[in-house]
């Protein structure tokens, strides 16, 4: 295997506290050395000029719907991993709400096999908490662990039965698996389809109150304390959730949270169309090129329908504050592809979810780095070492001996997201056509280049 020498880049490796100009040497698909003025070894060495770029551990997204098996009109492992590579991701965790769901070891093995032969990045599998993601009885979590899962979750659904959630947290500790929860109290949310507030009132769309998420976050904190099990709250959208987790972490409760870019870029006003969004809440979006027309979209655009929904400007600000002060340690996409014909329907009937792998890094850099809230190392940590720690992965680092999963980032690169540059099978993104700032320009998995601009 060809060796690689990345020269002249700014190496950011939060796991080792490194942020400095350095070279990175890769031999046999592993990190061989990191330092200044590294000499190329004998033999076949490719030099990569990384001047002006950030060299960092390959990014990890622990919240991706790959839709295979069973929903391959939306996405496949092949297309989803291509999209991941374009977004700078070298490892992704696929969610278990496939058909069949990942509640049995056979499906885990199937995904691993397809990923090995057709995928271009590492695919890590999460298993279901409950059989058939029905929230009624535990899935065979031990057998799933033996097959190789890295976490359990009923994502897309939320276990309503507190006793079942408690037992899942206790049981998962035998396997050191985190329990990742999509926090949604069904009795409070009922059939809500967008954030409950002024815009849901004006648009006549059924409201999904923020308390419906916060209530389950509070439940999870209490159960984490009761059991000692690790709970990870997925795609936080509400200010109260951030406040609860901040307070619980201070007390040492084993709880963590993730945020998705759409929840800290957009607000519920976006469902009323771009004119209303830019007028009401547009000032909270950082990094768009000045002097250019703002992105435009109509009202009731179903690419702005996801679960949890876009929330108020105050919630958006709270998520950004939670990311800034470290309450939220992990960035994720909740990449949820859907076919155009599924989304081109009445807002009520459209499925929840948007794609995100390819826009996630840019939007995070815009809202956190270009806004001067956080430095690059803090943002990269939320994409690398932090998810790796939660999932107990020996990844997300440039330590000598680690897999040579490497992403090269140009934080200032201006580009436009479009169908033409997307590798996903689906186009259900609210950011289609947006000018963005910051981009992964090359992605390496195990020392192999899988994407370059």
């Amino acid at each position: 295997m060809k060796s690689l020498l990345f020269t002249g880049g700014r190496v950011i490796d939060p796991a080792n506290g490194l942020d400095a100009g350095a070279d990175v040497l890769v031999v046999d698909g592993r990190i061989s050395a990191v330092g200044n003025g590294l000499a190329a070894p004998e033999g076949d060495v490719e030099r990569v000029d990384a001047r002006g770029l950030v060299v960092c551990p390959g990014l990890i997204d622990l919240h991706v719907h790959l839709r295979e098996p069973g929903q391959t009109a939306k996405e496949t492992i092949a297309s989803g991993t291509q999209a991941a590579a374009r977004g700078g991701f070298t490892s992704i965790v696929c969610m278990p709400n496939t058909s069949p769901s990942i509640d049995n070891p056979g499906t885990v093995v199937l995904i691993q096999e397809v990923a090995r032969t057709q995928g271009v990045v590492n695919v890590l599998v999460s298993g279901a908490i409950s059989k058939n993601i029905a929230g009624e009885e535990l899935a065979p979590i031990g057998s799933l662990k033996k097959a190789g899962i890295v976490a359990i979750t009923d994502d897309g659904h939320c276990i309503q039965n507190n006793e079942l959630m408690r037992r899942a947290l206790e049981y998962a500790q035998m396997f050191d698996l985190p329990v990742m929860d999509h926090c949604q109290d069904y009795s409070l949310v009922t059939d809500g389809i967008m954030h409950e507030g002024y815009w849901s009132t004006a648009l006549g769309l059924r409201g999904w109150p923020a308390a419906g998420e916060e209530m389950i976050v509070a439940r999870n904190i209490l159960l984490a304390e009761l059991t000692g099990g690790r709970v990870h709250c997925q795609h936080l959208s509400a200010a109260g959730s951030v406040r609860l987790i901040r307070e619980a972490k201070k007390r040492g409760v084993p709880i963590s949270g993730e945020a998705c870019p759409h929840h800290f870029v957009l607000t519920d006003a976006a469902v009323a169309g771009s004119e209303k969004f830019w007028a009401a809440d547009g000032q909270g979006v950082v990094g768009l090129p000045p002097g250019q027309p703002k992105p435009a979209w109509p009202c009731y655009d179903t690419n702005f329908k996801m679960n949890p929904p876009l929330r108020s400007a105050a919630d958006r600000e709270a998520i950004l504050e939670g990311l800034t002060d470290g309450t939220i340690e992990i960035l994720a996409s909740d990449h949820a592809p859907h076919c155009s014909y599924e989304k081109e329907v009445e807002f009520d009937y459209a499925p929840f979810g948007i794609t995100g792998l390819e826009t996630e890094l840019a939007l995070s850099l815009m809202q956190l780095y270009h806004s001067k809230r956080l430095g690059l190392a803090d943002i990269i940590a939320k994409f690398t070492v932090n998810p790796a720690r939660l999932l107990r992965l020996k990844k997300g680092t440039l330590s000598v001996g680690a897999d040579a999963d490497i992403t090269l980032i140009d934080p200032d690169r201006e580009w436009t997201f479009s169908r033409a540059v997307s590798a996903s099978k689906s186009w259900n993104s609210p950011f289609m056509g947006w000018p963005l700032k910051g981009r992964a320009v090359a992605t390496y998995v195990g020392g192999k280049n899988v994407w370059a601009v």
């Binding site: 507030g197 004006a202 209303k276 009731y300 081109e344 009445e346 807002f347």
Partner: protein
């Protein structure tokens, strides 16, 4: 919601052009001038409706599809008769008879209808935003006949027309809308129309059905019915839907009636010339005392009559008509 496609403007128009929309999706995006144009045009059509021969050729050769995905009686009949009086060809399409039950999407259904060269789609749908969605995927003009809890623009226009006919003007009128506001598309369209024309609107009903968010639409909210009706020039009662009870929105119809129903005792608190309105269908003895519904104070049946003129005006205007000056009969 700002998506009414504008027709190409014709330069050097002599009469002031205050209508150049291809669709009628909502009241929120209309200007006061546009609303007034509809009302003025409707007045001309109301005069046509009082003649021996009530039909005009304005839509001769045009095809209108009444696409009613949600059941409706009075709005569908009113649109149908308006279209007949404008000499349009009409296709009536209801969800029960359609392919929608076989899994066809709304977009495909509508595009099939358009392939039959339909010029206008009048749509009633239980999903908010369905007319706005259709207006983006079709070339035909789309008229919203009520979408979910979003808007019912022609109802608001006929309400405004009726108020103006009785009171002479809408500006300065105190209008109270009483009942289930949360789920009401009529309430939302009325709020936009009446506030744009200068009325002050008060909403009243149980706290569960009148959330605070409505204040941001420019209304005053009270949960005290006596206070709500005392100074009102117009009292617009909305139907209380029995099924809301099951969703724990209020304890029961009996309690609703005792707290919010318009009865004789409460009527005595109102101004002697306060108009009583209701978009129908009414629940006698629930939101309104039966005798009040039939009294001289009630304009409920006039609203139905005016609905015809207003819908004729809307069809006429989205067909490219510019205003009442063009209606000669």
């Amino acid at each position: 919601m700002g998506n009414g496609t504008l027709r190409q403007k014709i330069p050097n128009q002599e009469t002031p052009m205050s209508w150049n929309r291809k669709h009628l999706i909502d009241i929120e995006s209309l200007t006061a001038d546009e609303i007034t144009t509809v009302l003025d045009t409707a007045r001309a059509f109301k005069a046509v409706g009082e003649r021996a021969i009530k039909k005009v050729p304005a839509l001769r050769g045009k095809t209108v599809v009444n696409l009613f995905i949600e059941p409706s009686t009075r709005t569908r009949i009113s649109f149908e008769l308006s279209e007949q009086r404008l000499s349009a060809d009409i296709i009536n399409f209801t969800a029960e008879a359609s392919s929608l039950k076989k899994g066809e999407t709304l977009k495909d259904t509508a595009r099939n209808l358009e392939a039959l060269n339909a010029d206008f789609i009048v749509i009633r749908h239980s999903a908010s935003g369905a007319p706005a969605f259709l207006s983006r995927v079709l070339n035909a003009s789309v008229i919203n006949a009520g979408d979910g809890a979003h808007e019912h623009p022609t109802q608001a226009l006929l309400d405004a027309f009726t108020i103006r006919e009785h009171k002479g003007t809408i500006a300065g009128q105190k209008v109270t809308i009483l009942g289930d506001i949360l789920y009401s598309r009529v309430a939302r369209s009325d709020i936009w129309a009446l506030t744009k024309l200068g009325a002050s609107v008060t909403l009243c009903g149980p706290t569960t059905l009148v959330p605070k968010e409505f204040e941001k639409m420019g209304c005053r909210i009270t949960h005290n019915v006596e206070e709500a009706i005392r100074d009102a020039d117009v009292i617009n009662l909305l139907r209380i839907q029995h099924e809301r009870q099951r969703k724990s929105m209020f304890p029961g119809l009996g309690e609703y009636t005792s707290l919010f129903g318009l009865n004789q005792a409460r009527l005595k608190l109102t101004k002697p010339d306060a108009m009583i309105m209701h978009p129908g269908p009414i629940n006698r003895g629930v939101e309104i005392d039966s005798e009040i519904a039939d009294s001289k104070r009630s304009v409920i049946l006039e609203q139905v009559t005016n609905g015809l003129a207003v819908r004729m005006a809307v069809l006429f205007l989205v067909n490219g008509g510019k205003g009442p000056q063009e209606i000669t009969g």
